[in-house]
Amino acid sequence: MPTVTVDLQDGFDDDVVEVWLGGERRWREDSVTTNLAISLAASVPLEAEAGESELRVAMPSRGVEAAQQLAVEQDVTVAVNLADDGLRLEPLGERPYYL
C-alpha cells in the first residue's frame, strides 16, 4: 500500500493542524511548530489506497485550510508550507532532504 508523507515545513508556530486524506481525518496535533534549524515541523506518514484521493490540511486555530488532489500510485511526499498567502500544498517528485 503506498504511503503519502505529509511534511509540514515552514510557517507553523504553536498551531493546531489537521490532516485529512480521502475525507477522513487521519492526523491532528495541537502544538505544531516549525523547527527553524531544519525547516520542518512534522513529517506525517499516511498509508493510502492507490488511486485518486484528496489531501486536505486544515489549521483551525488560524481558520485556513488547503486541499490537493493526489493520484496515489506509489509513495509520494507532499510539502506543506504556511506563507502570507495561506497554506500551500506541493507534491514532490522525490523525498526532500532537511539539514
Binding site: 527553524l36 534549524a37 525547516s39 513529517s43 532532504y97 532537511y98 539539514l99
Partner: protein, 735 residues
C-alpha cells in the same frame, strides 16, 4: 575610564586630538565594492564637516567577495596589460587586518579590523571585557558598519560611528594602524573613542593577535557505526561557482575568517546511546554532547561539537541538525551518514555542505530564505549562493543551478555576522537560536570568560513555597584554591557583598533590595581552606525595598552574585523555585492577611511595636488566632513572639521614651508552638561571656537545630533571621 562605560574617560586625555587641526591630506576611501578603492576626492583633516558626512554614510550593500588573491604579473601579461614595475620586497607593506587585543584595566578590548585583507567586509568591530579582581567578564560589543578608511603609505586610519550594545557616551571611533613592511611584525592598533562632538575619550592600544577575526575550539566525534567521516572535498570535482580548491570544514571557516582549532581528541560514541531504536533523538544527541564533548560547559564559549552519526529519528531524509536548542544553545550539531554516506564526488560535496551548514546554525545563522525570522528580522535571500541555502529548493533553477553557481562560501551578510556580529548573537551558548534574552543573559550577570578568583558560588532554596511563605535562599561560597582564600563571613544582600536577582513568572527581572543595610567589619572575614572549604548563609529575599518579590504564583529563577575582597565577581548558577497558588479557601483568606506592606515590614524586622505597623500586627494576630493550624500561623507566631521577647523603646511625640518591657510568657507561648525555644535558651545561658556571646551562641544554635521537623520555609526563615531571634531568646527569662 568610567567603570560603567568602556568608551568614557574620567581623567583628562593627554594627547590632543583636535579634528579641527592637523595638516595631513589623506585620500578618503568611501566603502564601496569589496577590494575596490574608489577615491571620492581629497579630504583634508581640517574638513571636519566632510569627514562627518563621510562617516554618516549608510552601510553600502556588501558585494559578493571577489576572487581570492590579487592578480599577479603573469596573469596581467596574459591579459595584454602592461607589466607592473618590479617593487622591492622591502617596500611591500603588510596587509592590515585581523584581531587585536588590549591589556590593562578596568576594561580590555578585542578589536577586529576587516578593511584591508582578503574578502574584506569593510567593517571594524570589538568586544569589551570588564576586569574585576581575578575575573574577566564580557561587557558588550561594538561594530562600525560604514567606516571611512584612509590609507597612506605609512598608516591606515579608520573613522566611523559605532553601534554599541550599551549606551556608549563616546560612540565615534578612530583607529590608527601603522603600515609596516611585509617581513616586519604587525603593528599595534590604537583605538580612540570620541564623543559625537569629537572630544577624545577612552584610548586602547591593541596588539596584533591573529589574522583570524575569531578563534574557536572545534571537536568532532563519530558514532561507532560510522567508520569513515568526511575530511576534504575538491570543489573542482564537479561544476561550481568559485575557484577549484580542496576544502575541509576547518578551511571553509578559515576562508570566512574564523580559525577553528581542533582538539584532536576524537571519541567513538556507542550506538547504544541512541536508544533501543538505534536512531538519535534531539535529547539523545544533547546527552551525547554532554557526555563526549570534552569542552562542554553550560556557559557561552567559542567551542562547538560535531557528531558524525548514522541516522536521526526523523529518518534518512534528515542529513544534519543543529539539535542544541535547550539551555545554553548552539553548542553542538550532528550529520547523518545514512543519507550522506558515500565516496562519490556528489556525496563528498554533500557531506562538506552539511557539516558547514550545521556549524553555520551554531553560529546562529538561519536558512537563506528565512532571514526574516531572525530577531531582529533581515530580508530573505532565497537566491543566495550560500552554505545556508537548500540546493534542492533553490528557486533559481533547482540543485543544478545552485551547485554551478555556489562558490562554497557564506554570503556577504553572513560573513559580517560571523566576523563582526555582537558577541552574544554569535558565540555558542550566547543568545538562543534566533536571538533572545533571559536572566542568564543580563550583561552584568554573565558568567566570566576567565575566573581565577579561587571561589565558586552556589544558591540553594526549597523547590516550592506555599503562597505567602517567606522565601529564603542559602548562599554558599566554596573556596577552590588549596592555599586558602579570605572571604567575608556575611553572605546576605543586606551586608552588601552578595546580590540576588529574581526573575518572576512574568519574565521581569528584579534585583532584591533589602530594607536595611548592615555594615560589616574586617573581623567578619574568614578563610576558606582545606579545613573549612565552604561557608554558607541564609538570605531572606521575600520582602524588601520593592515590596514583596514573590507575590505571584508561578516559577521564579534566582541568581546570586558575590563580590570578593579583591574585586572579583562570582556568579552562581540559576536556581528555580515555584510558588504554589492558594489551594483552599483558607489559603486565600490567610494570604490576604499576610500580603500587606506593614506585614512584609514586620516579617523583615521580625516584629515591631511601631504604631505605623499597627494594622499589620493586627492582621498577623488574626492569622494565628483565627487560623491556628495554618502553616503561615507559625510565621506570625515567630514574628510576634520574638517581638514580645524584646524590650521595645518608643519615642513619643513629646520626645519622651516609653519602654515596653519584655513579655516572656507571651514570647514563650508563641515561639514554643513553633520550635524548641527552651533548648536554644539553655545553650545561650550556658555560654560564657557577655550578652553578645550568648546571643551569638543562640543564633548559631538556631542555624543548626532547626531541621526536618519544620516546614522548609519556616526553617529557612528562622535561619535567615537567627541573629534577631537568637538575640531575644538569649535574654529571655524562663518563667
Amino acid at each position: 575610564m568610567s567603570d560603567s562605560d568602556p568608551t568614557a574617560i574620567i581623567e583628562e586625555h593627554d594627547q590632543h586630538l583636535d579634528l579641527a587641526e592637523g595638516t595631513d591630506e589623506v585620500e578618503a576611501i568611501v566603502p564601496e565594492t569589496n577590494g575596490g578603492a574608489t577615491a571620492t576626492g581629497v579630504v583634508t583633516a581640517n574638513d571636519e564637516a566632510a569627514l562627518a558626512a563621510v562617516t554618516a554614510v549608510l552601510a553600502p550593500p556588501v558585494e559578493e567577495p571577489t576572487a581570492i588573491g590579487d592578480l599577479d604579473a603573469a596573469s596581467l601579461d596574459g591579459l595584454g596589460a602592461a607589466r607592473l614595475p618590479t617593487i622591492p620586497i622591502t617596500a611591500v607593506k603588510r596587509k592590515v587586518f585581523g584581531r587585536y587585543r588590549s591589556t590593562g584595566m578596568p576594561f580590555q578590548v578585542e578589536l577586529r579590523v576587516d578593511v584591508d585583507g582578503p574578502s574584506p567586509t569593510m567593517r571594524v568591530s570589538a568586544d569589551y571585557y570588564a576586569i574585576a579582581g581575578a575575573t574577566i567578564t564580557y561587557f558588550g560589543s561594538m561594530r562600525v558598519d560604514a567606516p571611512a578608511v584612509a590609507i597612506t603609505d605609512t598608516q591606515i586610519v579608520i573613522n566611523g560611528l559605532g553601534r554599541f550594545t550599551w549606551a556608549a557616551s563616546s560612540p565615534r571611533i578612530r583607529i590608527t594602524i601603522p603600515r609596516v613592511p611585509l617581513l616586519s611584525p604587525p603593528a599595534a592598533a590604537t583605538m580612540v573613542h570620541l564623543s559625537l562632538t569629537g572630544m577624545p575619550s577612552a584610548t586602547y592600544i591593541c596588539r596584533f593577535v591573529s589574522p583570524a577575526f575569531r578563534t574557536m575550539i572545534f571537536e568532532e566525534d563519530r558514532q561507532d557505526t560510522v567508520p569513515a567521516v568526511f575530511t576534504s572535498y575538491n570543489t573542482g570535482s564537479l561544476p561550481s561557482g568559485g575557484p577549484a580548491r580542496p576544502i575541509s570544514v576547518v578551511s571553509a571557516f578559515a576562508e570566512a575568517g574564523i580559525q577553528m582549532l581542533t582538539t584532536g581528541a576524537a571519541d567513538v560514541v556507542a550506538t547504544g546511546e541512541a536508544g533501543a531504536n538505534a536512531s538519535w533523538s534531539d535529547a539523545e544527541l544533547h546527552a551525547g554532547m554532554v557526555n563526549h564533548f570534552s569542552r562542554w560547559k553550560d556557559i557561552p564559549q567559542w567551542a562547538v561539537w560535531l557528531l558524525h552519526a548514522r541516522v536521526h529519528d526523523l529518518g534518512t531524509g534528515l542529513l544534519g541538525i543543529m539539535f542544541d536548542q535547550q539551555g545554553k544553545q548552539r553548542q553542538g550539531c550532528a550529520v547523518f551518514y545514512a543519507g550522506l554516506g558515500g565516496t562519490t564526488a556528489d556525496k563528498q560535496r554533500l557531506q562538506l555542505f552539511t557539516c558547514v551548514h550545521e556549524l553555520g546554525h551554531c553560529f546562529n545563522l538561519l536558512h537563506s530564505w528565512q532571514k526574516s525570522l531572525a530577531i531582529p528580522p533581515q530580508p530573505n535571500r532565497p537566491l543566495s549562493f550560500s552554505w545556508m541555502n537548500y540546493p534542492w529548493s533553490y528557486p533559481g533553477g533547482g540543485p543544478a543551478a545552485f551547485w554551478s553557481g555556489f562558490p562554497f562560501r557564506f554570503d556577504a551578510q553572513e560573513l559580517v555576522h560571523i566576523r563582526h556580529g555582537f558577541q552574544s548573537d554569535v558565540i555558542m551558548g550566547g543568545n538562543p537560536f534566533r536571538v533572545g534574552s533571559a536572566l542568564e543573559d543580563l550583561a552584568s550577570w554573565s558568567d566570566p570568560v576567565e575566573d581565577r578568583s579561587g571561589l565558586r558560588l552556589e544558591l540553594e532554596a526549597p523547590t516550592t513555597f506555599a503562597y505567602g511563605e517567606p522565601v529564603t535562599a542559602q548562599v554558599r561560597l566554596h573556596g577552590v584554591d588549596p592555599r586558602g582564600i579570605m572571604v567575608t563571613r556575611h553572605l546576605r544582600p543586606r551586608n552588601g557583598q552578595v546580590q540576588i536577582a529574581i526573575a518572576g513568572p512574568n519574565g521581569q527581572v528584579r534585583l532584591y533590595e533589602p530594607l536595611l543595610h548592615h555594615c560589616a567589619s574586617d573581623e567578619d572575614a574568614i578563610v576558606l581552606d582545606q579545613d573549612k572549604p565552604s561557608h554558607a548563609d541564609t538570605a531572606f529575599i521575600h520582602y524588601g525595598k520593592d515590596g514583596f518579590y514573590f507575590d505571584q504564583p508561578g516559577t521564579y529563577r534566582l541568581r546570586a552574585r558575590y563580590t570578593a575582597p579583591d574585586g572579583s565577581t562570582i556568579v552562581s548558577p540559576v536556581t528555580t523555585v515555584r510558588v504554589r497558588p492558594p489551594l483552599t479557601a483558607e489559603d486565600e483568606t490567610v494570604a490576604e492577611l499576610v500580603f500587606g506592606e506593614e506585614q512584609g515590614t514586620l516579617m523583615y524586622l521580625v516584629g515591631s511595636d511601631s504604631d505605623t505597623l499597627r494594622s499589620g500586627n493586627e492582621a498577623l494576630t488574626r492569622v494565628w488566632e483565627e487560623h491556628p493550624e495554618h502553616r503561615l500561623a507559625d510565621v506570625a507566631r515567630v514574628i510576634q513572639g520574638v517581638n514580645a521577647a524584646r524590650e521595645f523603646k518608643l519615642v513619643e511625640a513629646d520626645n519622651e521614651v516609653r519602654v515596653r518591657k519584655p513579655d516572656p510568657g507571651t514570647a514563650a507561648d508563641l515561639l514554643g508552638a513553633v520550635f524548641d525555644v527552651s533548648g536554644t535558651r539553655d545553650v545561650a545561658f550556658e555560654q560564657e561571656g557577655d550578652d553578645a556571646a550568648r546571643m551569638a551562641a543562640a543564633a548559631t544554635h538556631l542555624r543548626t537545630v532547626v531541621g526536618p521537623e519544620l516546614p522548609p520555609a519556616i526553617a529557612g526563615y528562622l535561619r535567615a533571621r537567627r541573629r534577631e531571634i537568637g538575640a531575644e531568646i538569649a535574654t529571655l527569662d524562663a518563667e
